[in-house]
Point group: C2
Chain length 556, copies 2
């Protein structure tokens, strides 16, 4: 089979204005960024305010394993298949970060015959959204340190500055730094650090903002530091909100591109899926729902993290009404969850599959708690045997859920026709009864405990002394009435990445709790967390190149 970049470069890509025309976007409602990318104005939403929304399909997955699940690939393939069977469909995805592109992954825009294009542009700067976020974030940091340097009228405690800086790069040397060295004119000496841009609260806000005004309000509420007497200092207090919004004036607009089969694709925003909610922007999803019959979107990591946050954070804030959830599973990853080692995945193993199915089963039960019907997509690999596929289908049927093969990586949209037909059938026959898992007016402990016991199936939640103190502080600031955004390992339902399958009898330990008052959620950290990745011994960047005639090498 050809490489991703070969397939992408051979695609019959259409000028993007043909897609805006197909979607009914007016000439004054989009701006071209080259021939194959456009930014769509938020005015579309106002113009189509009274038009009923299309159906919203969430693609999620079992807990990820090194064997791979192919969530984005299924997302892209399913949207192409829906178009093939006559449903006007938009795929809505997150933007890739430059960090992983040059680190390990080498690119992220689907794979095989289920990609979004132009993949090289999407993977490199794209329309500049992440750079705009980096600029806005770091402008605020510079204004904060400048405020301290110029006399500190707000009485900021330099030991309690919580606003770091960001870069869209994997750079471990910037995780922990000391700034402000030099002479008296060179700022205030303090400890600080850089996160990767996708970890910025500005990224989460850009992706949750419901309007331009909401963007500005949320930016204004971001807490950057505390005063010596414990009061929160916000971006608004530093008078940074207007300039930051100005820097984000185009970044807030969804980016329109296309799949290899010319299905419209909004690729917009990309917050972390642990300390943030891990979904593309609300604006992209909402505009998509006005323009199409179906919007197929996804959430980061497995359903315990991604779907939970999609429901309890994104859908809550945006007033979304998800119609169907597609849970992506592979035979290989289920066998890993059943105890098979990576080297043995190529061999048929029905008993391991049977054991590992418990992981999928629990995710399906969880989705049921949100009242949304589910369909399982089996992302087919060449090593899957018929007996394994039959077993998986049977087990799903036993739960009242249909499992359907997806072969989009090798066949494109044609590989997901049956899946698309099933999704349409469920949309038309089973009304979604979407409901939230908890109300925001409970205590922080209650909300964490609800997610940990209902979704992760922990027996109990333990809070470290530090976490208890932080919860008390947030509650005293009156900022506790927000949803919780729990950062946990993606590899297990528990907070121990080694516990595969469907573990029981464990406790979840909450180590740190902080409030993202602008994004509007409380970040809850279990285990250790990396917000600035490092480069591997041989970074993907080493193998990359572009020739004089534009041929790109090493992106995938």
């Amino acid at each position: 089979m050809k490489t991703d970049v070969q397939i992408a470069q051979e695609a019959s890509i259409r000028p993007i204005n043909e897609l805006t025309e197909y979607l009914g976007i007016m000439d004054n409602e989009y701006e071209l960024y080259g021939k194959y990318k456009a930014k769509v104005s938020l005015e579309v939403l106002e113009r189509l305010e009274d038009k009923p929304d299309g159906k919203l399909i969430l693609v999620t997955a079992i807990n990820p394993t090194p064997a791979g699940e192919g969530k984005t690939t299924v997302n892209v393939g399913l949207s192409m298949a829906l178009n093939k069977i006559g449903r006007k469909t938009i795929t809505a995805l997150r933007e890739p970060s430059l960090g992983p592109v040059f680190g390990i992954k080498g690119g992220a825009a689907g794979g095989g015959y289920a990609q979004v294009v132009p993949m090289e542009d999407i993977n490199l700067h794209f329309t500049g959204d992440f750079h705009a976020i980096t600029s806005a974030h770091n402008l605020l940091a510079a204004m904060l340190d400048n405020h301290i340097h110029q006399g500190n009228a707000l009485n900021i405690d330099p030991k309690r500055v919580v606003w770091k800086r960001v870069l869209d790069i994997n750079d471990r040397s910037l995780r922990n730094i000391i700034i402000g060295l030099g002479g008296t004119g060179d700022g205030f000496i303090r400890q600080s650090g850089f996160d990767i841009t996708v970890a910025s609260e500005v990224m989460a806000i850009l992706c949750l903002a419901n309007s331009f005004g909401d963007l500005k309000d949320r930016l204004s509420r971001m807490i950057v530091a505390y005063t010596e007497d414990g009061q929160a200092v916000t971006a608004g207090d530093l008078e940074a909100t207007g300039a930051m919004t100005l820097l984000l004036k185009d970044a807030i607009k969804p980016n329109l591109v296309q799949t290899l089969e010319n299905t419209p694709a909004f690729v917009h925003g990309g917050p972390f899926a642990n300390i943030a909610h891990g979904c593309n922007s609300v604006m992209a999803t909402r505009i998509g729902l006005k323009l199409a019959d179906y919007v197929v979107t996804e959430a980061g990591f497995g359903a315990d993290l991604g779907a939970e946050k999609f429901f309890n954070i994104k859908s809550r804030f945006a007033g979304l009404n998800p119609a169907v959830v597609v849970v992506v599973a592979t035979i290989r990853a289920l066998k890993m969850n059943g105890g098979v080692s990576k080297n043995e995945l190529g061999y048929e193993n029905l008993s391991a599959l049977n054991v590992g199915f418990a992981n999928l089963e629990r995710h399906l039960q969880n989705i049921n708690k949100f009242g949304v019907p589910a369909v399982v997509a089996i992302n087919k690999f060449p090593t899957d045997t018929d007996a394994e596929i039959d077993l998986l289908k049977d087990r799903c049927e036993g739960l009242g859920v249909e499992a359907i093969l997806s072969e989009v990586f090798t066949k494109g949209g044609a590989g997901a026709i049956e899946l698309a037909e099933k999704v349409v059938e469920v949309c038309e026959k089973k009304a979604s009864d979407y409901r939230l898992l908890y109300a925001v007016d409970g205590s922080i402990q209650e909300k964490i405990t609800t997610v940990a016991t209902e979704i992760y199936r922990a027996d109990r939640v333990e809070f470290t002394a530090a976490a208890k103190r932080q919860i008390q502080e947030i509650t005293e600031l009156g900022l506790d009435k927000m949803p919780v955004c729990i950062a946990k390992t993606q590899y297990s339902f528990s907070d121990n990445p080694a516990l595969l399958g469907a573990p029981t009898g464990f406790a979840v330990t909450v180590r740190e709790v902080k409030v993202n008052a602008g994004a509007g959620f409380i970040v809850v950290i279990t285990g250790s967390l990396m917000t600035m990745p490092g480069l591997p011994k041989v970074p993907a960047a080493n193998g990359m190149d572009i020739t004089e005639n534009g041929e790109i090498i090493g992106l995938s």
Copy 2:
């Protein structure tokens, strides 16, 4: 009079594809970035290889003072006037940096009725060139620190890493930092810092590259560190060149916008005018010369720094042949050079003007050394008296140079018709005899001494012990056969900013010498140098905002 932003927003701006058509750029040779910006492909240059070049006009100025000279404004106004008198003209400018936009200046795209538009886009991210440079620069930094962290196969001396990081922001707290703190997985602890993006060698390279291949070659040659036995380690050694070039694949293409009167404008690249050469990109200038009869361009700071570097660095590398130099002067700034304090500039003072004229006179003599004819543009202010203007014209005439009023700030192109006619007349009647001031094969000391004595008119050059040692090291590395790029205060011919007018009897002290092997010049530092600005007590950012309907406040 209206504010710059009011004037800009009321402009009758044309879709940029009307301008590409006017210039004869083919449909496949440009890409739109919104309706009013385009990136022009380097292929234009190949297609028009055999077409004779248009005339190249350099706009420079006397030494700047707080009174202001209006170099960019005259540049833009003159190009509009040339179009008005029937000469197809392109203006070529540098891109503004976000740092000063949010720091003190609040924007930079000309002023009054002589601006380039869309000014808000040009001032904010524009087409992403600076962000691409920031990304490429910092990817190299991350790869370097990662190399040390992962075993340091190249034997880099961590004390001799010369590659810092960059951000396009004014942030004094990042000038001097310690990186790599934390645990064993968090990199190598060493001292480092951030410069502003315009100070990056990548910026200088992007602006000097003669082709895509030349870009890659120059990036590869950049020295990032030295080994423990004193050998240079380059970006090429770190295998970073391909990935960096990939990140710059669009940034290398000139950006086409327009003036308020729809004159085509290339706004592309923006290197510092002290540690770098301070001119827009070679690609923009060269493509402009193929597309138009006249290209009007500029160089940063006064002619002692800007014009000297334009001639000895940019024109040398690009094989340019400047036809005329326009030297911008104001009565106010000449009076300051004649000893008048800032508060007294509004009053007629012929004797001070007479004294201060020595500054302009010396610049005109210097330009004569390069064999290029000069015209003086008097950038008119309301307080200028007829007697002052007559005196200035007389003094210029005494040197055989015509001085002509420019009123472009208040009148646009109509305010520079006479200036435009004079420029055309000089182009047609006085053949330029452009020559370089020195050959690169002299020693570093000789080249520095030539510029310091011939242009600055120093009696002698003093080299600190450190500078002598650095010169010796560069020479031993065999990298001394390059032009010198001297960083000196812009306010005086000397290295003492307080010496206005035309000082004599002074020494220039060279404190530091380093080689930018990729850019291809030797940086010579006199006095202290700031490569990362700070924010003022009340940053321009504080007053900025954008309303829900897109009205922008605080950019100017």
